[in-house]
Symmetry: C2
Subunit: 368 residues, 2 copies
Amino acid sequence: MSSQPIFLAIIGLGGVGKAFLTQYEHLRQRLSSQTPSTDLALILARRSKTQVLSERYGGLDASKILQQLDESKKPFLPFDAILEFLENAPGKVVLVDNTSDLELAKQYPTILGKGISIVTPNKKGFSDDIKLWDNIFSAASRGNSHVFHESTVGAGLPVISTLTELIETGDEVTKIEGVFSGTMSFLFNSFQPVGGEGGKFSAEVKKAKDLGYTEPDPRDDLNGLDVARKLTILARIAGLKVESPTSFPVQSLIPKALESCKSGDEFMEKLPEHDDEMEKLKSEASKAGKVLRFVGSIDVGSKSVKVGLEQFDTSHPIAALKGSDNIISFYTKRYGANPLIVQGAGAGGEVTAMGVTGDLIKVIRLLK
Amino acid sequence: MSSQPIFLAIIGLGGVGKAFLTQYEHLRQRLSSQTPSTDLALILARRSKTQVLSERYGGLDASKILQQLDESKKPFLPFDAILEFLENAPGKVVLVDNTSDLELAKQYPTILGKGISIVTPNKKGFSDDIKLWDNIFSAASRGNSHVFHESTVGAGLPVISTLTELIETGDEVTKIEGVFSGTMSFLFNSFQPVGGEGGKFSAEVKKAKDLGYTEPDPRDDLNGLDVARKLTILARIAGLKVESPTSFPVQSLIPKALESCKSGDEFMEKLPEHDDEMEKLKSEASKAGKVLRFVGSIDVGSKSVKVGLEQFDTSHPIAALKGSDNIISFYTKRYGANPLIVQGAGAGGEVTAMGVTGDLIKVIRLLK
């Protein structure tokens, strides 16, 4: 039994998008060889200034997409034209948003309302104003479409699916706590390693930047907003009506005096002048036999969400984290004193794309 | 839009079954109040010597099932009659097998082949002869039915779903390692705690038994077969053709001389005479600065599966485990040197039932 193909559109072909493209091709081949088979047809690939589309809705060759995008001389279409193209596809459509674009995320309600499903690692839509969150899920319900976003927290780690299942099966989640940023994890595991010295804060930031662990402008990690967006998403799934990622306390590691820096380069140049502030916090923790870590926590009972530096005993799992790993602990009524813990790489193209591909598999099963 | 109900049959109403019944009722109420709503109808509850069934396929009241089973005077029906009853239901049927019965598991191919889906924490069907495994999944494919068994490993922890997703998205799993038994976890965390003394082995077994952490006959835990069954399941998902749970090395903690004991009581009485053997292993580990733990591991490349005692550095996450927690580490190509780790309670009625209810939610979504 071979049925109608499921049509796929990809927007965003950076690190995650490219890794996804490889995983997609692996999946397409596997599904087409199964009995009964399922056919996937890639009908659109789009990035910032160009796109390739399959005018007759035949599948594009994933292995040639990047080259075709490079060579494309077609005019860049407005999003409305893209949406119309997807709407007219002769079957079910899934949009894979591999961007981090808030403007595209604002279109989710329109897209979902037209019956087009979405899988995405893009945090913006789920962590912005709560009205957008509400509109996204009511549009999916109205449009009988699906929206999955596992990779918005912890990349490919089973964080969102685990929290959702705890809640849907009737457990009572009391607290969620963890290290939610690969960058912050790497930075503090180096700045104050258990049983080691660590370097000056500015030197560790530079090292993390040089190794590609930070955003091009490290202030985008140090301001805490990335973690705040992830916490916003988890808190909302846990039932808290969090207005926005700036509606709760978020500690920024950008020194006050450097908030007015014009560029990332200027910031990096002046950061060493402020090493004393972080050094003081480190030595306070050290004197208490503890280490500093940048964590997020959600206390469901008191509806309190916060992001910032905290001290941890050296024997605490959060202190013992390695490399750029994330760790997320779910404290619930059922699990009692010992939380359910998920740990592992929480950033990187391959593992982020894995969460997206995993979501795509779920949507395909639901659409078949 | 309210559609046809999905019919549910429960077999097994022990600790897991009772916890499931409560979670089921919570789920039923939630789904019936959603827009669009989904109706669930419980049409059968069955335990060892009795059953209650809804003769006209109207939903039974979950809150009265236990009492009705106690009071039932109807003759105990043979399984064929039950199967016929389920087959004739006017809609999709899901069988929830909350037993640990191999004979029932041997019926899975027949049940699935008739289009009836199965969710279960019963390890037996998935860890016995590999022919049964193959028959189960080919029957599900033929019958267009679904079979989920998350709770067969790690109870409600996302172990099977995580491994499946790693593989389906094209990652290469190289090694799986962990503590897979709540009983063995508790036993060794007490026998040789990090930074502590611990008691004699027989005393710790007795303590675990008294606290309800072991099977009624502790030999059923100490023989390692429970862990071997879990490893068999994971190895098969990872693509290894493991013949049976006795086709690879499994270390039993039952002393040779006590293998002929007639009863669990006799075994418990004589176990103290063999404390020296375990004490020797403990002191060897201790001298190496390590602790003993009972672990299972699957090396996918060399196709080697094994279960038994190993020494771990006191700083290793396996050594630091608490209470009766499980820990499962997935080493994969994508995750590199630091594995993806899932940790938490891996036994108990509530968390086991959570895995079953989570599976039921997935099946309901697929059947709608």
